[in-house]
Amino acid sequence: MADLSIDFCGIKSPNPFWLASAPPANSGPQVMRAFDAGWGGAVWKTLGDPVTNVTSRFWANDYGNTRMMGLNNIELITDRPLEVNLKEMYEVKKRFPKHALIASLMVETRENWKEIIKRAEDTGCDGLELNFGCPHGMCERGMGSAVGQEPKVLEEITRWAMEYARTPVIIKLTPNTGDINEPGEAAARGGAPAVSLINTVKSLLGVDLDRFVPNPRVGNQSTNGGYCGPAVKPIALFMMSQLAKNPATKHMAISGIGGISNWRDAAEFISLGATSVQVCTAVMHYGYRIVEDMIEGLSDYLDSKGMKSVNELRGKAIGAYAEWGDLDLNYNLKARINPDSCIGCNLCHVACMDGAHQCILIPGRTHAEHEKAGHTHIPASIPEVPVKAAGAVGRFLPVIDDVECVGCNLCHLVCPVPGTISMVEVPGTIGKSETWNDRVAQGRDLNPGSLDSTVAKRAGAKP
């Protein structure tokens, strides 16, 4: 079994799975139950001057039969007295000395920061996470994402924290910014050894169409909140890997956050540079018990890849994350449909017709019917191969027209039967590897059909 333990800029944790600072880490009894279930660490619900929360607080984005694809919340930081939280943190750390316990902090003034850092560290916690991410409620008071969106302020407060803290400081970043590198670099300039991202995405989840009030509803009103859950994972992966690549930030440890629901998600974050991962929505949906699968799944995955430690996985995919201009224009794929598993639903056909390149034909139609369907290129031969699946009587395997197929993956993505449509590599049309940046360097970055003014400018610009 692979070693899952990590050293996160000095913070030791038996595994990379931490509860994010959120309702699942709201109290001592909760965190202790989580540690008993197997979680390696927890970032406590953000401490500060206690708030008053509203009712209701959450709303979810469902998709089809999938509940809570995304979750929105308008809850603020902890509403419990500071001394209660600190006492419980002390008790947790005493009972679970080898687990990672991080205090999440959000206060206003330098004096506030000085006081809360001292009091938090007195609990014996292993590190501090400065919450510069919360995009609702607190930011209007000059905290949370109001800090995360102002690199200078972020840098300043980071410096204060680095001055007062005896334990590692993690800067939690908001995604509600134009370029994540700016706050990330500010955190690095301030001397922080680590960042965590992303906090929630500023959002308005939906509207109650009978009351004309957005959700979640507080009486006859609502407000914007923070969006999280599986839906935000791609945004989180992007932003996190930006910092993992950035020469000015890549020395910092990263705690990945955003839609992580299982070991596979965690492995993806780790492969793009995360040392630990933080989870909230999936626990709010299914409970602490999901960590069993996360530990087992990640461990087995690492074993299957011959990796002895999770540290070997870290950053493995960063190198392959390139700029668009460095992608190989000669790389070529064509869709292929497996006649043994196709059920003849023709979803690939409609997706390709209306959303891609009109290259999937339904056999059995006349030439005129193919034209009417919208095909502009009709192959000479459209073989009528029956769908083999039992009961699929009278249906034919859709036919890929390689002339029109651009290998976009859409049919592969919409096909409901996994493994039925595969994308197969075929020889490229250029004949050798070539990138757009190569063409730019050689002055060949002008395609036929360009604007007259672009052509003229280029002609004038040439020596």
Binding site: G64, N65, I343, G344, C345, N346, L347, H349, V350, I362, V387, A389, A390, G391, A392, V393, G394, R395, P416, V417
Partner: protein, 448 residues
């Protein structure tokens, strides 16, 4: 307008639970979300009325339930009945691509039921169909009030063609009212739908009026009168009485024709069926229905007596499976050769012979005690009325001969559809045949 037909209470039918009750909204949306929204979907091709099933299911998934009902009713004006009574296992759901994937097919019938019932209880049928066209001044007579005639009347009404439905019975609706297994659809549900069609306007229902050849007596109307007074005639005659076994002792108490017995279970208040052992003779869907019904009514031992093997039965395999689940049993290769009665004429049992290839084997008879016998070996054809219309041809089996594309008979003013043409199929077939007939009627009447 014809007064609302309300069946009296105290019917045995009311003792049955719905086998596939209407989904709740949450159930419907969850099931609708399973549908993968195929293109050129096989379910559409398998539906005799070609309802755009993936589209109506998609609409349910977005909670556009009224839109779903519109999509259904646009192709099948009796979509509510068909949702309850269609053998979807043999039609749309049987063609679902999920079957090919080894998964439970989409519950299309139940989704259709949800969409139509949930909508029609709030909105009149007319609000879900295209606006009625101006009156054409044309008038069509419909003979029989089964689903084919009701569908035709509704479609004609939308086209501005008036119609009069002649029904010889007091209760309208034909087999859709009186012949559907009660655990699928109650007679009242069929009547409620019929009334929604009548409410489209321009449709007159005359019950208790028989169409006859030659001079008409009381409660009758002559076929010549219909040909003279109307621009067109649609024959939706259905089938005739139950066929008889033709064995000694058949006449008398305790032996019922299956169709007649089902009708009485559905419509006769206070009907009592005594005993614990029932024999149902036949291998078709009517036999399966009455066997299933008798078992659910409390008969301890219900045996389907069929002269051939299970594989030869014309009844649907899924209906046999359901009847068996509820405790009915199948006796293959058996023939009743005589019905036995005591001195007072009361039914005591039967002589039951083993059979090979459907024929009784001599010397194999045994005596079996039985309390009730339902004979479900087919129905006679209603040839008399059809023959009253000059030019209307019947085939060797007594079915009305029509052009399958237009459903016009040999008499250019007479169209026909439903069981009297197809020999006894589903409600949905009757609706589709009515659609074809109405389309042709409209062009013949100069409607368009």
């Amino acid at each position: 307008m014809h007064p609302l037909t309300v069946l009296p209470s105290g019917r045995l039918e009311q003792q049955f639970d719905d086998k596939k009750p209407r989904y709740t909204a949450a159930e419907a949306i969850t099931e609708a979300n399973r549908c993968i929204y195929c293109v050129d979907a096989p379910c559409i091709k398998a539906c005799p009325t070609t309802i755009d099933i993936p589209t109506f299911i998609h609409k349910i998934s977005t909670e556009n339930v009224k839109g779903a009902a519109r999509t259904i009713l646009a192709e099948n004006i009796l979509g509510a009945s068909c949702a309850r009574v269609c053998p979807v296992e043999e039609l749309c759901a049987g063609a679902c691509v999920y079957n090919a994937w080894g998964r439970e097919p989409i519950a299309i019938g139940r989704l259709q039921r949800f969409a139509t019932e949930a909508t029609l209880e709030k909105a009149p049928l007319s609000s879900l169909l295209p606006a009625k066209k101006p009156a054409t001044g044309k008038k069509v007579a419909l003979v029989g009030s089964g689903p084919a005639s009701i569908a035709a009347a509704g479609l004609l009404a939308l086209e501005g063609v008036q119609s009069v439905i002649f029904e010889k019975r007091a209760i309208p609706g034909g087999l859709n009212t009186l012949g559907i297994a009660p655990y699928k659809q109650s007679g009242q549900a069929a009547l409620d739908e019929l009334h929604q069609v009548l409410a489209l306007g321009g449709i007159e229902l005359r019950t208790g009026v028989e169409v006859v050849a030659g001079a008409a007596g009381a409660g009758q109307v002559s076929s010549d009168t219909l040909l003279k007074d109307f621009d067109g005639v649609f024959l939706g005659l259905g089938l005739g009485p139950d066929s008889k076994l033709g064995v000694p002792g058949e006449q008398g108490a305790g032996v019922y024709g299956a169709v007649d017995l089902i009708e009485r279970i559905k419509a006769e208040p206070g009907l009592k069926l005594a005993g614990s052992r029932a024999f149902v003779i036949g291998g078709g869907n009517t036999a399966l229905d009455i066997a299933h019904e008798l078992r659910l009514l409390g008969f301890q031992d219900v045996a389907l007596v069929y002269r051939r093997e299970e594989k030869d039965m014309s009844g649907y395999a899924h209906e046999l499976a359901h009847a068996r689940e509820d405790g009915a049993r199948l006796l293959e290769n058996r023939v009743v050769t005589e019905v036995l009665r005591d001195a007072k004429g009361a039914l005591t049992g039967v002589k039951l012979a083993r059979a090979k290839d459907g024929k009784a084997l001599a010397g194999t008879e045994e005596t079996v005690a039985v309390d009730l016998i339902a004979v479900a070996i087919g129905q006679s054809v209603a040839t008399g009325v059809a023959k009253a219309f000059a030019g209307v041809q019947l085939d060797a089996k007594g079915r009305v001969v029509v052009d399958p594309k237009t459903h016009r008979t040999g008499n250019p003013k007479v169209w026909s559809g439903g069981d009297c043409v197809n020999g006894g199929k589903e409600v949905v077939n009757g609706v589709q045949e009515a659609k074809l007939a109405v389309k042709d009627m409209l062009s013949a009447l100069g409607g368009k």
